[in-house]
C-alpha cells in the first residue's frame, strides 16, 4: 500500500499498464475469402507496453508521440473509458474504472477532434446543461462562467449556436465548458488541433494561467512540439507503447546531442562560409544557417571560429527547434 502522503501529492499514478488491441488482418485476395471466414487472422497490437509514470498535483505535462504511439489510449484509460489489459491506474487516488462518477466530478476530459457542446443549441445552453448534469453550485458556476468568459473572450459567442462556431471558437467554448466545475485535473487530447496562430496563443496563455493560478494539473497531448514546449514543464515521449523519454525540454535536446543553430548574415553575393565544425543547413541570399553540437563545440569556440570571418554582418544563435529535435528522434526510433 502506498503511503498517504504520496496519494496526497500525486494526481496520477500509472503502474505497469499494458493495453492490447486485436487487429483483423485481411489479404484482400478472393482466394482467401473462405480462410478469412473460417479462421480469421488477427494480430495483437500492444498500444501500451508496461508503462509506469507518476504526475504530481499542479504539474503541466506534455504527453507526446508519433501517430499510433498510444497517447489517446492512455487518456482514455485515465478517464475510465477504457480498461487496461494489465496494470493499475490511480487518478486523484481512485481507480477510474471503479469510481468513474466521483472521478468525473473532479477531472475534465477534452478530445480535440470531438466536441461536448450541444450542436443545435447556443453555447450558453451547453454551459447550463453542464451545470445541471455536474450539479455545480450556483456560486461556483457563476464565478467560473465569469472567469472563462473574460479570459477566453467568449462574450460574443455565448448566444451563438455551436454548429455555427468556427473551429477556434468551438475549441475555446469546449475548454470553457471543461472548466466550469473547477476540475483538479484536466486531460486535453490535441486541444490546439487546427487552430490559427492567435487562437493557439490565446489557448496556451489561458492553460498556463489556470495551471499557475488555480494549481490545476494539466496533461496535454499534441503533435505540435512548439506548442507543447510553450505550455508544459515536463514532456513524456511515448514510442511503440513505451515511455521513450521523460524529462524537461532542455534535457530532450541534450538527448539528441544538444544541437544549436547559428544564422550568419553576409553580403547577398557571398558564398556560405567554410566551417567544417558545423553542418550547413540552408543558405539563401547571404543568410546561412548552420547546426552545431554545443557539447562538442562550446560557444566560446564558435565565437573564436567566427572571428576569422570579417564579412559576417550579423549573427544569431538559437536552440534547435523542438520540432526538429523530436522529428529526428522519431526517425531514429523508426530506423531502429
Amino acid at each position: 500500500m502506498k503511503p498517504l502522503v504520496l496519494q496526497d501529492t500525486l494526481a496520477l499514478a500509472i503502474d505497469n499498464i499494458t493495453k492490447e488491441y486485436c487487429q483483423w488482418q485481411r489479404s484482400g485476395n478472393a482466394r482467401d475469402i473462405m480462410k478469412n471466414l473460417l479462421h480469421p487472422e488477427k494480430r495483437v497490437v500492444k498500444a501500451l507496453d508496461h508503462i509506469s509514470l507518476q504526475v504530481k498535483k499542479g504539474e503541466f505535462v506534455a504527453y507526446a508521440g508519433a501517430n499510433g504511439a498510444g497517447k489517446s489510449t492512455t487518456i482514455k484509460i485515465l478517464s475510465g473509458i477504457l480498461m487496461p489489459t494489465e496494470g493499475t491506474v490511480s487518478v486523484l487516488g481512485v481507480n477510474p474504472a471503479k469510481d468513474r462518477i466521483w472521478l468525473m466530478r473532479h477531472i475534465g476530459v477534452l478530445f480535440g477532434q470531438r466536441t461536448e457542446l450541444w450542436w443545435d443549441h447556443p453555447v450558453i445552453s451547453s454551459f447550463e446543461w453542464k451545470k445541471e448534469v455536474w450539479n455545480i453550485p450556483d456560486s461556483t458556476y457563476k464565478r467560473n462562467l465569469e472567469m472563462v468568459t473574460e479570459l477566453l473572450d467568449l462574450s460574443d459567442i455565448l448566444k451563438t449556436f455551436a454548429r455555427e462556431l468556427s473551429l477556434g471558437q468551438r475549441m475555446r467554448a469546449d475548454i470553457a465548458m471543461l472548466l466550469l466545475h473547477s476540475p483538479e485535473l484536466i486531460f486535453l487530447d490535441e486541444p490546439t488541433l487546427g487552430l490559427d496562430v492567435l487562437a493557439k496563443q490565446q489557448m496556451i496563455r489561458f492553460l498556463k494561467k489556470i495551471n499557475i493560478e488555480s494549481k490545476t494539473t494539466v496533461v496535454v497531448t499534441s503533435h505540435d512540439m512548439d506548442d507543447l514546449e510553450e505550455m508544459a514543464q515536463r514532456i513524456i515521449l511515448i514510442n511503440k507503447g513505451r515511455i521513450a523519454f521523460d524529462g524537461n525540454f532542455d534535457e530532450l535536446r541534450n538527448v539528441m546531442g544538444g544541437f544549436y543553430r547559428i544564422v550568419l548574415t553576409t553580403a547577398k553575393e557571398d558564398a556560405p562560409l567554410s566551417l567544417p565544425e558545423m553542418r550547413l543547413l540552408k543558405t539563401d541570399s547571404g543568410i546561412h544557417e548552420y547546426e552545431f553540437d554545443r557539447n562538442a563545440l562550446g560557444i566560446h569556440k564558435v565565437m573564436a571560429l567566427l572571428s576569422d570571418f570579417p564579412q559576417i554582418l550579423d549573427m544569431e544563435i538559437k536552440k534547435a527547434p523542438i520540432e526538429d529535435v523530436v522529428a529526428n528522434l522519431y526517425l531514429s526510433w523508426r530506423e531502429n
Binding site: 482514455k76 477504457l82 462518477i101 445541471e132 448534469v133
Partner: protein, 286 residues
C-alpha cells in the same frame, strides 16, 4: 437510490428545458414543424380510420375495437417519441456503433440515468402522444369500454409494459453494435420499424404457433393487440372476464425481456471498456 432519483429528476428537467428551447429556437422552424406535425398527424389518423374500416369484424374484433387498438398502438409510439426520441436514445445502436458512449461515460452520472433521460422530448415529441390519447379515448367510447380511474390506471400500466418491451427489444438487438459496430449501427431502426409496422395487426385469427412467435420471440403482439384485447374485455365485461395468467403475461414478459436486455447491455459495455470505442476497431465506424 434517493440520490439517483434526484439526479434523474434533474436530468429530465434539463432535457425538457432544452427540448422547449430547441422547439422554439426560430419562428420559421417552429411553424414548419407545427405544420408538418399537423399534416403527419392527419395522415396517421386517416390511415388508422381506413385500416379500421378494412379490418371491420376482422380477427374477432369490431371496427371500434380495432380503432381502440390502433389508438393504443399510437399511444405507444407517442411514449417512444416523448421519452426516447431525443439524441438517438431510442436508436441506441447508433450511439454504440459511432463510439458516442464516450461522451456519456465522461459525465458524473450513472450511465442508465443519462441514457434514460437524454431522449426526453416532451414538447417536440408530444404530438403523436396527444393523438394517441385522443384516438384511444375515442375508440374506447365508440367500443363501449367503461372509462374510470381503474381502467385508466390499467391502460397506463399495460402501456408502460408495452414500451418496456419495445425498448428492451431495441436495446437487445442494439447490443450487436458493440461487436459489429458498422454492420449493426442502424439495427435499432430496423427493430423500431418492426414494431411500427406490425404491432397494429390483430392476431386473433392466427394459428397457435405463429401467434406464440408474435407474443414471445418477436413480441409485436404485446405492444397493441394483446393488451388491447385485455383492456376491451375488462372494460366491457368487467375484470372477472380476464383470466389471471393472461393478465400477468404482459408484465411478466416485460420484466423478463428487460432483464435479458440489461444483462446483454452490461456485457456489451464490458466489451466496450475492454476493447475500446468500436470507431477505432477493425470493423469500426465507416
Amino acid at each position: 437510490m434517493a440520490d439517483n432519483f434526484k439526479t434523474l429528476t434533474r436530468l429530465y428537467r434539463q432535457y425538457a428545458k432544452m427540448d422547449l428551447l430547441w422547439f422554439l429556437r426560430d419562428t420559421r422552424y417552429f411553424f414548419i414543424q407545427l405544420i408538418s406535425d399537423v399534416v403527419s398527424g392527419g395522415c396517421t389518423i386517416a390511415g388508422i380510420c381506413l385500416l379500421s374500416a378494412n379490418f371491420k369484424n376482422f380477427s374477432g374484433m369490431t371496427q371500434n375495437e380495432i380503432l381502440f387498438m390502433m389508438g393504443y398502438a399510437l399511444f405507444i409510439d407517442g411514449i417512444f417519441m416523448v421519452f426516447f426520441i431525443g439524441n438517438n436514445t431510442g436508436m441506441v445502436s447508433r450511439i454504440i456503433g459511432r463510439g458516442q458512449l464516450d461522451h456519456i461515460m465522461i459525465q458524473p452520472v450513472p450511465l442508465w440515468a443519462e441514457l434514460l433521460a437524454q431522449g426526453f422530448a416532451p414538447v417536440s415529441g408530444s404530438p403523436i402522444m396527444i393523438l394517441g390519447i385522443g384516438l384511444t379515448a375515442y375508440g374506447a367510447v365508440r367500443a363501449g369500454i367503461l372509462i374510470n380511474a381503474f381502467a385508466i390506471l390499467l391502460f397506463l400500466f399495460y402501456s408502460t409494459c408495452s414500451i418496456i418491451i419495445v425498448m428492451s427489444f431495441i436495446y437487445l438487438i442494439s447490443c450487436s453494435a458493440f461487436y459489429a459496430p458498422a454492420a449493426a449501427e442502424e439495427i435499432a431502426v430496423v427493430g423500431k420499424d418492426l414494431f411500427s409496422t406490425l404491432k397494429t395487426y390483430p392476431l386473433g385469427n392466427m394459428k397457435g404457433f405463429q401467434k406464440h412467435i408474435f407474443l414471445s420471440v418477436i413480441p409485436v403482439g404485446l405492444c397493441a393487440w394483446f393488451p388491447s384485447t385485455l383492456l376491451i374485455k375488462a372494460g366491457k365485461y368487467g375484470l372477472g372476464a380476464v383470466l389471471i395468467p393472461e393478465a400477468f403475461y404482459l408484465p411478466a414478459a416485460a420484466a423478463i425481456l428487460s432483464v435479458i436486455a440489461i444483462i446483454a447491455f452490461k456485457k456489451g459495455i464490458k466489451h466496450y471498456e475492454t476493447f475500446g470505442s468500436p470507431r477505432y476497431s477493425g470493423f469500426g465506424h465507416r
